[in-house]
């Protein structure tokens, strides 16, 4: 039987490597407010779309070129001769406040966590999932950006204490924060569990959490004045700086990785990430890993009924009953799912990971949450 380790430890051997520039960028624009059109020329760093929510960051071209293709789902930029590159913004000169927040948002930062105060600020320095080592890589190599990011975050959030959560064996520190070690085992790296470990409270209202990846992006924007156009991601144990929109096909060919028909290619982590349907799909903001999982590595998900073995319940860190909640979701009884603790689920994926019958438990849970969200929206409207 295949044994998976949940360890979040990483052995970093090298620094962050660069990926050769791709010929095309493919950016998901579903549900975004477009700021460009087909056949238009875009420059490096120019805004191509805005987020519809009040706090979501804008999206920018990671290279200059021409918009070759555009539908409601994708925007494809053929790289090459393009429009004018974006001018750096002098972010450092702005005082904490409205204008700073708006500027950060325009430069691609999600400002939800920055726009109000909190007593405690937790910096999550744990690697998010097994097989992803981005967090520790940044603590090892990106201190300047992290410190710059922390300065801005502290100026906006004004916390009384700032804590860095790190894996128990690691030596990483961040000036201005108090270190706190946490056992390096998934799911301990999830935000909700890290906050609990640091504050002793579950979902406390006076604490906020940011990952070192958020901090890095913030610091980089502040120091360069340029928008977020890349993400750092772990691929087969090494970390790469990848322009947002880089097609997966390009990554595979650069790194000599093969993906055959039937395999699963995952953007993000192997517990919570998303399987893409095409190798032409581009890397998204906040994708910290890519995994190619061969078709015979794991038994497939199946649509069968639960046998009440209880493995999902015994493994759930949210202390809810995924077997019950998934059944409510299956039969569209979303309110009942909510009543039984749906919102205590932080989507770690452990329930479906350990299900004997291989039911798509996390899928059902996300479905229920989505449906409730949609219902909430239509009520407000």
């Amino acid at each position: 039987m295949l044994r998976i380790h949940y360890s979040l430890e990483s052995q970093l051997k090298d620094g962050i490597a660069d990926i050769a520039a791709p010929e095309e960028l493919s950016i998901q624009v579903r549900n975004l407010v477009l700021k460009t059109a087909k056949r238009k020329k875009v420059g490096f760093g120019s805004t191509i779309a805005e987020h519809p929510s009040q706090s979501g960051g804008a999206f920018h071209a990671a290279a200059s070129g021409t918009v070759r293709d555009l539908d409601y789902h994708h925007l494809v930029i053929a790289c090459g001769e393009g429009g004018d590159d974006a001018e750096p913004v002098n972010v450092a000169s702005l005082q904490p406040g409205r204008e700073l927040l708006r500027t950060l948002q325009e430069l691609g930062i999600d400002i939800a966590v920055l726009s109000s105060r909190a007593e405690t600020l937790v910096i999550n320095g744990m690697n998010p999932e097994p097989g992803v080592s981005v967090a520790e890589q940044m603590l090892a190599d990106e201190m300047e950006n992290l410190e710059a990011g922390l300065d801005v975050a502290c100026a906006l959030i004004e916390p009384q204490r700032t804590i860095l959560a790190v894996a128990d064996a690691s030596e990483y520190r961040l000036p201005g924060t108090t270190p706190q070690s946490i056992k390096a085992k998934y799911p301990n790296s999830l935000d909700a569990l890290v906050v609990k470990a640091v504050t002793g409270e579950e979902f406390p209202s006076n604490a906020k959490i940011m990952s070192v990846m958020d901090l890095y992006a913030l610091g980089r924007v502040v120091r360069t004045g340029l928008p977020v156009t890349e993400t750092v991601m772990t691929i087969e144990g090494r970390n790469y700086r990848v322009p947002i929109g880089t097609p997966i096909r390009h990554l595979l060919s650069c790194l000599g990785i093969k993906a055959a028909s039937g395999d699963t290619v995952v953007l993000g982590g192997s517990f919570r990430g998303e399987a893409v349907y095409s190798l032409d799909e581009g890397v998204r903001k906040g994708d910290y890993g890519m995994f190619v999982i061969s078709s015979d590595a794991f038994p497939h998900v199946q649509d069968v009924s639960c046998i009440n073995c209880g493995e999902c319940v015994l493994n759930c860190p949210g202390r809810i009953q995924p077997n019950l909640i998934s059944r409510y979701a299956e039969y569209e009884m979303f309110e009942m799912a909510e009543k039984h603790g749906l919102h205590s689920c932080f989507e770690c994926g452990l329930c479906a990971f350990s299900c004997t019958m291989r039911r798509p438990l996390l899928q059902y849970i996300r479905f229920a949450k989505d449906q409730l969200r949609a219902a909430g929206r239509s009520e407000q409207a």
């Binding site: 039987m1 295949l2 998976i4 539908d71 409601y72 789902h73 994708h74 909700a192 609990k196 579950e202 028909s261 039937g262 395999d263 699963t264 995952v266 192997s270 517990f271 919570r272 990430g273 998303e274 399987a275 893409v276 349907y277 095409s278 190798l279 032409d280 995994f291 999982i293 078709s295 794991f298 038994p299 497939h300 009924s305 639960c306 046998i307 009440n308 073995c309 209880g310 319940v313 015994l314 949210g318 202390r319 809810i320 009953q321 039984h340 603790g341 205590s344 932080f346 994926g349 452990l350 479906a352 990971f353 350990s354 299900c355 004997t356 019958m357 291989r358 798509p360 996390l362 899928q363």
Partner: protein
């Protein structure tokens, strides 16, 4: 509004599998689970055949194969996929056979196997949906319908030894001096053909525990329940009530703890509920043996507690961050 159509992106040479997260899985499957459970029954089966001779093997063979055939028929009639190759029906049939006297008439074994599948499982929606451990339903059915055919002492009268729990019920504690605990442990006692092979069951159950196919909560608390209540009685009057060790080794206590009470569908799902479940079932075993009409309290104790499962499942911790 017509929903937008997402055109397949240019390349279809590599057709990827799109599946929901998590993309890693622990590798548990029903098939592997049942294979492990069947392997765990093997030591007790061999020990049973060694003790009772070939009739034991024949009884298990009849019950097992009839259970599988019945399952095939039931699935066909329901228009479902015939998936007996997952071994669940075979396993249920053998569990039932383990409770029988080795020389039970073949038709009792066959009828019980049919009842296991039809009444125990199919009417509730199939494997995994049964509120009561399926082989026990059949056991109770046969026990009521054909008491003589199911009677251990009667069937195995040609053996020199006696059924310990029966002796206790009929003749009281004094009769127990004929039994040696080592004999009981090694299965040299009369009882269900597999259910009385205590040492062999411990080997099989131990294997399931080590490989984590069953969790320790139910078996351990079951044994705790039996020990606690029997100690209590024994403390009150050692002249009337049997010592705890006797209750643990005689009858199908160990079989119940490791194989019947741990049935996935009919036991609760949480840690504390499972623990309480075992504790209650274990306590009931002794109470039934002391006050009840049936010598071996195990089957009824577990069936009764099965009915409490939904209630026990309500004993659960507050969800994360919940009020």
């Amino acid at each position: 509004m017509t929903p937008p159509i997402i055109k397949a992106m240019s390349d279809i040479a590599t057709r990827l599998t799109v599946s929901p997260a998590p993309h890693w899985r622990c590798g548990r499957t029903l098939h592997a689970m049942m294979r492990a459970h069947l392997a765990a029954l093997l030591p007790a089966l061999l020990a049973g055949v060694y003790m009772f001779g070939l009739p034991a093997a024949a009884t298990v063979g009849v019950a097992g194969s009839v259970a599988v055939l019945t399952e095939v028929l039931c699935l066909r009639m329901q228009g479902r996929d015939v998936d007996v190759d997952n071994f669940t029906a075979l396993y249920a049939g053998i569990l039932f056979a383990f409770l029988l006297p080795a020389t039970a008439p073949w038709w009792v074994a066959a009828a019980g196997a049919v009842v296991t599948i039809v009444l125990g499982r199919t009417v509730f929606g199939g494997f995994g949906c049964n509120p009561v451990c399926a082989p026990l339903v059949a056991w109770a059915f046969c026990r009521m319908s054909w008491p003589a055919a199911m009677d251990i002492d009667l069937n195995l009268a040609h053996f020199m030894s006696n059924d310990p729990v029966y002796q206790l019920q009929r003749f009281g504690v004094e009769a127990l001096s004929q039994f040696d605990y080592v004999d009981l442990l090694l299965g040299r006692q009369l009882g269900g053909l597999g259910a009385s092979q205590v040492a062999a069951l411990l080997v099989g159950g131990g294997f399931l525990l080590i490989t984590k196919w069953i969790r320790w909560y139910i078996p351990v608390s079951f044994v705790l329940g039996v020990s606690a209540v029997s100690t209590l009685f024994w403390f009150i009057d050692p002249g009337t009530y049997a010592p705890p060790l006797f209750h643990l080794l005689a009858g199908s206590t160990v079989f119940g703890a490791l194989f019947l009470a741990t049935d996935t569908a009919s036991s609760p799902v949480g840690k504390l509920p499972q623990f309480l479940f075992g504790l209650i079932a274990g306590s009931l075993v002794v109470i039934i043996r002391v006050y009840g009409a049936f010598p071996d309290g195990v089957p009824f104790a577990i069936m009764l507690t099965n009915l409490l499962s939904p209630l026990l499942d309500r004993v659960r911790p507050k969800p994360f961050g919940g009020k």
